[in-house]
Amino acid sequence: MKVYIRSAACVSPQNTFEGDNFLTDIIESTGTRLKAVDPDYKQFIDPKQMRRMSHVIKMGIAAAKSCLDQAGVQEPDAIITGTAFGCMEDTVTFITRIVEQDEEMLPPTAFIQSTHNTVAAQIALMLKCHNYNNTFVHKGISFESAMFDAMMMLNEGDAGNILVGGTEEMVDASFKVLTRLGLYKRQPISNLSLYEGQSKGTIGGEGAVFFLVSDKYSPSNLAELTALKTLYKPASIEDSIIDFLKSNGLNIDDIDLIITGRNGDTKNDEIYLTLGNSIFNNKPIANYKHLCGEYPTSSSFALWLAGNIIKKGIIPEVVKQNVFSSFSPKKVLIYNHYQAKYHSLMLVSAL
């Protein structure tokens, strides 16, 4: 059984949602937070319903709907999302009102849209889709958990087309708290200079990326998602990567391109530099977090990137870490870690 990516749609701080350009029209931003470029939501959502929807719900529905439209699928056999923080905007709204109004006369809307499964639920509601619907909320591997669920389900033969997404919204309150926790840089920086110099912290980001995955081959598929693995505090990530490739009958020489989760934080990036001097030595390497920012489900952006690189046979200049001449990669390894605790590996192959 193979898992294919039929289509992908990406709302991000770059122009990734519409148009034919593939990361050629780059948005540069100076600060410590990248905000998503909002699509014209009216194309996807009834304006009456839209008024009450938070940013993450709108981003999620637009990405999900676009993904289904691209594949020409009306009703997926399952809808699975991953999000670490869930619906922050509604959560913060409701908690603020509890404090402000001393628990009295509270309106219910923010509360009912605050549950972590709201995006998946709203997609089901919009599609009138009664099929399997699940939401994973495990920190930096929320998206991977969702995708792993889809891969198992295809393996079980219980579904043919599964909509899987990673969503995260950044609101002022969470940006402030995460800044105080030391996640972001103390000084504004251009996202395009994220990897220059050594300093503590990264830049925040957000987005919604959806994929339609299937076990059916079609020449129009973007790519094959050959394998996915999550690891918690592995003893040696180098050994884990070698084992992961080996279990897929490969070694590092078979990998044409590596996409890493480098985020500009000296400590975070140590492992990528170490690997750059060992198994990733002399390999073409690409990075992506200068484009979408760091957030718990950013690996969904990386998978969108890998799928498009393979399908289009182009490696956009803006993602290249080292100098290498252009080629069409057939096997791409995505390696990301979240705060050095959670590591994930995704192997993406040409059809």
């Binding site: 923080f85 959560t91 908690i95 628990e103 849209q113």
Partner: protein, 399 residues
């Protein structure tokens, strides 16, 4: 893919007991756990009854081995997960691939609320250690570290069906040969966030709740945690005692009707129960007992009841809502009720639906009113339905 998944251990903490033995005793003695609020500062103290776990955070910390200053949600989880793993008593636990799949609805919200009181006045204030573990996944991670599971971890959050989906996912991790052992279930502590949230929906009963009663007026919120230890056939063969039962069926369907309300005919509930039966290869007449979602809200019980009426037609199995004991423990309810379902099989019991007085006019059946002992219980269906139309049914089967 056809291999069976066995339940080798159970652990639970709720308003009716701090461990499995205490919960079972309360279920038999018809002892409900609702009372006035004591653990939370809220204007609803003395106004709305809730089903609190009768231990302080310090006492929970003592029992779980976790520090007392973390979220009560993690502390409750720690107590129940530790009990479940000890109960399973798996020889050479470390030689197997093990995972912890836990669920909750609002993560470390109890601590975040404390943080927010200061943060709200000044964004540079508020103790960071109170917000550090806000994420749902942190609850799982804290407990996984404590019980020594690191091969695999994940967290599910689908509102009130969360832990049923965690158990479902855990079973599939075993069936797909990803893991040999999964501790699966969920946890939630009471928070001002959820209490106020449900209060805005005007579905909280000011008296003790009356699930499936014609005169029901809403739910009581509760807290707690429940886990089952799922094992593969291979692990089951090494156990010192026989597993309790099998997880034979499961299904997750979506009502796709409204963000919070259930459809009048209970479409999602119907599809979940029907799908679980299909998965297990069972007929409606095979079900010996239904542990209802049965929150006590007019909407839920009407939708769930209608779905049962449609699916089971004339042969209605005995059924009851144990939320009449524990209140609605939200993200923990599927875990706690999975444990009660397993215990129903192991102890040949059908629990009563407390405080039931008047049959619902729209339904041709009523729940069980008194404890039934020495029952021939082969298959138990456990329902968990939640916001977002998320409906999940599990079926536990005697071996």
């Amino acid at each position: 893919m056809s291999s069976s998944v066995y339940i080798a251990g159970v652990g639970v903490i709720s308003a009716i007991g701090n461990n499995v033995a205490e919960n079972l005793a309360s279920l038999k003695n018809e002892h409900a756990g609702m009372a006035d609020i004591t653990q939370m500062e809220t204007i609803y103290k003395g106004v709305l009854p809730v089903a609190e776990v009768k231990l302080s955070n310090e006492e929970l910390a003592d029992r779980s081995g976790l520090p007392a200053n973390i979220s009560r949600t993690a502390l409750l989880s720690g107590v129940a997960a530790k009990e479940a793993l000890a109960d399973a008593d798996i020889p050479d636990f470390k030689q197997w691939r093990s995972g912890f799949v836990s669920a909750n609805s609002v993560g470390g919200m109890d601590k975040s609320e404390d943080f927010y009181l200061d943060f709200f006045k000044d964004n540079n204030k508020g103790k960071l250690r109170n917000i550090f573990d806000h994420e749902c996944g942190s609850m799982t991670e804290l407990v996984a570290d404590q019980i020594g599971v690191s091969d695999f971890m994940s967290t599910v959050s689908t509102a009130c069906s969360s832990s049923a989906n965690a158990i479902f996912y855990g079973a599939r991790l075993i069936k797909n040969d990803v893991l040999d052992i999964v501790i699966a279930g969920g946890t939630d502590s009471l928070t001002k966030f959820t209490l106020n949230g449900f209060n805005t929906l005007m579905i909280l009963d000011k008296e003790f709740c009356k699930p499936f009663d014609e005169n029901r007026e809403g739910l009581n919120l509760g807290e707690g945690s429940g886990y089952v230890v799922l094992v593969s056939e291979k692990v089951a063969q090494t156990l010192k005692k026989q597993p309790y039962c099998k997880l034979s069926g499961y299904n997750n369907s979506n009502d796709a009707y409204h963000q919070t309300a259930s459809s009048p005919d209970g479409t999602g509930s119907y599809l979940a129960m029907q799908g679980a039966l299909k998965k297990s290869g069972l007929q409606t007449t095979d079900i010996s007992y239904i542990n209802l979602h049965g929150t006590g809200t007019p909407n839920n019980d009407s939708a769930e009841g209608t779905a049962i009426k449609r699916l089971f037609e004339k042969d209605f199995p005995p059924m009851s809502s144990t939320k009449s004991y524990t209140g609605h423990t939200l993200g923990a309810s599927g875990g706690i009720e999975a444990v009660y379902s397993v215990l129903a099989i192991a102890n040949k019991l059908i629990y009563p639906n407390l405080r039931f007085e008047t049959k619902m006019e729209e339904l041709p059946f009523e729940p069980v009113k008194e404890l039934r002992k020495d029952q021939d219980i082969k298959h138990v269906m456990s329902n968990s339905f939640g916001f977002g139309g998320n409906c999940t049914s599990l079926i536990f089967s005697r071996i």
